[in-house]
Each structure stands twice: as structure tokens, then as C-alpha cells.
């Protein structure tokens, strides 16, 4: 069964807290990884690898640059 956007966002929030120390209260669709959540490029690599594992999706390197906000990532993972 496909996960809902809320479930994906919650999963992303867990990953962001684990690998980058982001406060779960700060995670929302409109938040930018780099500008709002202080996730730098190296930390983003870890976030992507963890998201692939958790959600069973592939996020190619050329797609990562398009994932600027939490909402972008949730939408990408939702499409599978």
C-alpha cells in the first residue's frame, strides 16, 4: 500500500533528525533543506541514501538538485 504524504513527511523528519540533527518541529513542506534546515551538501547525500533505503525508491544524483524543499522530496517519493 502506498504511503500518504503525511507518512512520508514523518519518515523524512526522522531521517533529518537522525543524520542532520534537524528538529522535527521545523520540518514542513515549504522548508528548504539548505536555507531553512541547515542541511549542507554532504548531509544531503546522507539524507538521500537514507530515504532510498527507508522508502524503497531510487533517487538518481541528477534528481537530487531538484529536491530543494521537504515538499519536493515528499512528492518525488510519493510518485515512487
Amino acid at each position: 500500500m502506498a504511503l500518504s504524504r503525511d507518512e512520508i513527511r514523518e519518515g523524512m523528519s526522522d531521517i533529518l533528525e537522525e543524520v542532520a540533527g534537524v528538529n522535527p518541529d521545523d520540518v514542513a513542506d515549504e522548508k528548504s533543506f539548505t536555507d531553512d534546515l541547515d542541511v549542507d551538501s554532504l548531509a544531503m547525500v546522507e539524507v538521500v541514501v537514507a530515504a532510498e533505503e527507508k522508502f524503497g525508491v531510487k533517487i538518481p544524483d541528477d534528481q537530487v538538485a531538484n529536491l530543494k524543499t521537504v515538499g519536493d522530496a515528499v512528492s518525488y517519493i510519493e510518485k515512487g
Binding site: V19, G21, V49
Partner: protein, 405 residues
């Protein structure tokens, strides 16, 4: 010549998570060595080591820990303590702040852990922090970034002489006018299967697995090799007038340092300690003092059969037969790249407190030991000057001479 003083001390060692607890344990003669329970250790010839008394995870935030090798974690812990101890803050001109911080081996545990991930899960799973975690200049870089040092961040690498060389190089930075304040020291954290198997294959490590606290026994007849420890020491070095202008407490003066190389063998110490002796002589010459003023040597003495007695020859020839020696490795184990800094801190505190920590486990002195050692009990003594020696694989020799503030 510009005078360089020590205004801050920091350490995390097998005896304590800071300088005060480490010093208290040193003076009390407590051993930090124990049997390793880890599964990876069970097949090793040497299954004993001196692990940290306080885990970095008890001190640093979790995400910070993830991105730092263990050697970088403890470098940061020790350097932060030294920084706070010296009363430094962001008022300092960062363009005049330098760092010289070394590691003998670097991020070996990270290299091994990430290689396991590469083998088991493929290249995509290898951490993007792998390279900054395993590079041998990592501890120096992490400390430099923490305090915003911009006068230069350097990472000497000379095996077990590393952090003594770092203190020498840090003092030189100040003497050459390149910095006013330098965070100097070293860190090592390589207690793991491969490093221990490597040292064991060289027959360099003690195999007294059934009696861990008595395994590190410098100058004792029954010594059978060193015991590996992990830890970090950091010193704040400062130009004297800079320290005085801000009213800093001065622990001691870095009166002289000497660095030489053996040109003898990649791992064997020169049995006559010629290079080590020249390093001691160079430190004494730079300080411009009579060797008779040196009351104490915190010796390199690692508890290996050849090295311990070679050093005795060097000390006797260059410093004299009046000094009181100690080998604090009998308690901390051998901190490798962290040894010179932690033992310099012990030598400095010996001057400040008037107490020389004991060399424990010296039950049957080697027949060749004809110098006075603070054996098994701390020795109260007034000191004007104390020497620390550190020698490393590759034939690196360092000697640091500290005098009373």
C-alpha cells in the same frame, strides 16, 4: 627572544575525562588498562588496552559525533577544555590564532568501518564524511574550525612523537611571529583489531592478558611490550606579553624544544639513544639553562625491552644522573600520537604542584636502571624545570623543556 608560555590545559584520557581527574589518578597511581571484552579482540595476541574513561558521546552532541572520527572527537574535547581553561573567547584576533594538532595514525577506525560498508553495501552507502574523518590532518582541521583559527592550521605526523612535535612547532609559530596564541597537542584513537594486530605482529605489545593493570611496566625486568591507550591532550601556547596583557594564568614556560631524527631504523630505537639525546641537548641549549636545573624527566618509556633502557642512557648522558624520572605510560598505556601532549601536561603539573606522578609496576627494576625513578608512589619535590621526551617509529625524536612560570 620571544617567550612562549602555557596558559591552558585540556585532556581526555584513560584515567579521566579532563585534566583534573587525569592528574588525580596519575598521582594516586591508578592504572587505566583493562581486558577488552569486544568480540573483535578475542583472537588477538594482545587483548588489553587503556580505553577512554569518558566516552566522547557523553560530551558531544550526537550529530557532531556522526561526522567526526573518534580521534577528531577527542581532539575537540581536549582543545575545548584547554580553550576554556585559558579563558579565551571570541575577542581574540583569529588571524593571530594558530593550531598545531597531530595524530600518529589518523582516522584508521573510520577507514576500516567505511571499507566494511563498501564491501557489504556498495559505494553509494559510503559516508560522504569519510574523507574528512580519516584524513590525518582531521583533528587539527576540526580544532581550527571550532575556534576560527586563521594564522595556520598544521598537522605534524611523526608516530608517537607527534604531539610533542606539535608543541614544539606551535612554540616556533609564536617565536617566528606567525601567531600570538596556538592550540597545540595531539589525539589518537585506534584501539581496534587491525592496528592492534599490526603492533602485535611486530611483537611490540604486551601479552599479559591475565593481569591487565600490571602489563604496562616501564623499566621493570619483566616488561614485555607496550599497552595501547587512546586519548588526547591540548595546550594553549601564548606569547608571554600577550598572556600577561589579558591577565591569563601562566602554568609554565616552554623554554626549549628539540627535534631530531635517528637515521638508524624504521622501528628499532637506537640502542645508544643518540638522536634522542641530541633532541634533549637541543631543548636544553635553546632554554639556555644548566642541565642540573632540570629536576624531572617524564620519559617516553613505553615498557618495551629495548627502548626503555636506551632512553636511560640518553638521559644520563645529556641531562645527568640527578633527575627523578617517571613513566606515566605505566598508568595511561601508550597514547601514541596523544602521548607527548598528555605527558607534557603531566610534566607541567609536576612543576606547578610539586609532585611527580609514580611509575607503577616497577617491582623488579631492570639491572641497567641506575637513575632515580618515582617508583610506585608519587614523589614530592620542588621543580624549576622538567623535560618531556617522545620518540616515534621512523626515528623521530622530540624533547620539550618546561620551566617554572
Amino acid at each position: 627572544m620571544t617567550e612562549v608560555v602555557v596558559t591552558g590545559l585540556g585532556a581526555t584520557t584513560p584515567l579521566g575525562g579532563d585534566v583534573a581527574s587525569t592528574w588525580e589518578a596519575l598521582v594516586a597511581g591508578r592504572s587505566g588498562v583493562h581486558l577488552l571484552e569486544h568480540e573483535w579482540a578475542q583472537e588477538l595476541p594482545c587483548r588489553i588496552a587503556a580505553e577512554l574513561a569518558v566516552e566522547p558521546s557523553e560530551v558531544l552532541p550526537r550529530v557532531r559525533l556522526r561526522r567526526l572520527d573518534r580521534s577528531e572527537q577527542i581532539a575537540l574535547v581536549a582543545a575545548q577544555q584547554a580553550w576554556d581553561d585559558a579563558g579565551l573567547n571570541d575577542d581574540l584576533d583569529k588571524e593571530r590564532l594558530g593550531v598545531v594538532f597531530g595524530s600518529g595514525i589518523g582516522g584508521a577506525l573510520t577507514l576500516l568501518a567505511q571499507d566494511d560498508i563498501l564491501e557489504q553495501s556498495g559505494p553509494r552507502k559510503v559516508s560522504p564524511f569519510t574523507v574528512p574523518m580519516l584524513m590525518p590532518n582531521g583533528p587539527a582541521a576540526v580544532v581550527g574550525l571550532e575556534f576560527g583559527a586563521q594564522a595556520g592550521v598544521h598537522a605534524p605526523t611523526s608516530a608517537c612523537a607527534t604531539s610533542a612535535e606539535a608543541i614544539s612547532a606551535g612554540a616556533d609559530m609564536i617565536r617566528l611571529g606567525r601567531a600570538d596564541v596556538v592550540v597545540a597537542g595531539g589525539a589518537e584513537a585506534v584501539i581496534g583489531g587491525l592496528p592492534m594486530a599490526g603492533f602485535s605482529s611486530m611483537k611490540a605489545m604486551s601479552t599479559r592478558n591475565d593481569d591487565p593493570t600490571h602489563a604496562s611496566r616501564p623499566w621493570d625486568r619483566d616488561r614485555d611490550g607496550f599497552v595501547m591507550g587512546e586519548g588526547s591532550g591540548a595546550l594553549i601556547l601564548e606569547r608571554r606579553d600577550h598572556a600577561e596583557a589579558r591577565g591569563a594564568r601562566i602554568y609554565a614556560v616552554v623554554a626549549g624544544s628539540g627535534l631530531t631524527s635517528d637515521g638508524y631504523d624504521i622501528v628499532q630505537p637506537d640502542p645508544e639513544c643518540r638522536g634522542g639525546g641530541r633532541a634533549m641537548a637541543a631543548a636544553i641549549k635553546q632554554a639556555g639553562i644548566d642541565p642540573k636545573e632540570i629536576g624531572h624527566v617524564n620519559a617516553h618509556a613505553t615498557s618495551t625491552p629495548v627502548g626503555d633502557m636506551a632512553e636511560i642512557k640518553g638521559i644520563k648522558r645529556v641531562v645527568g644522573d640527578h633527575v627523578v624520572l617517571t613513566a606515566t605510560k605505566s598508568m595511561t598505556g601508550h597514547l601514541l600520537g596523544g602521548a607527548g601532549a598528555v605527558e607534557s601536561i603531566a610534566a607541567i603539573l609536576a612543576i606547578v604542584e610539586g609532585v611527580i606522578p609514580p611509575t607503577i609496576n616497577l617491582e623488579n627494576p631492570d639491572p641497567g636502571l641506575d637513575l632515580d625513578v618515582a617508583a610506585n608512589e608519587a614523589r614530592k619535590v620542588d621543580l624549576n624545570a622538567a623535560l618531556n621526551t617522545a620518540f616515534g617509529f621512523g626515528g623521530h625524536n622530540a624533547a620539550l623543556l618546561f620551566t617554572k612560570a
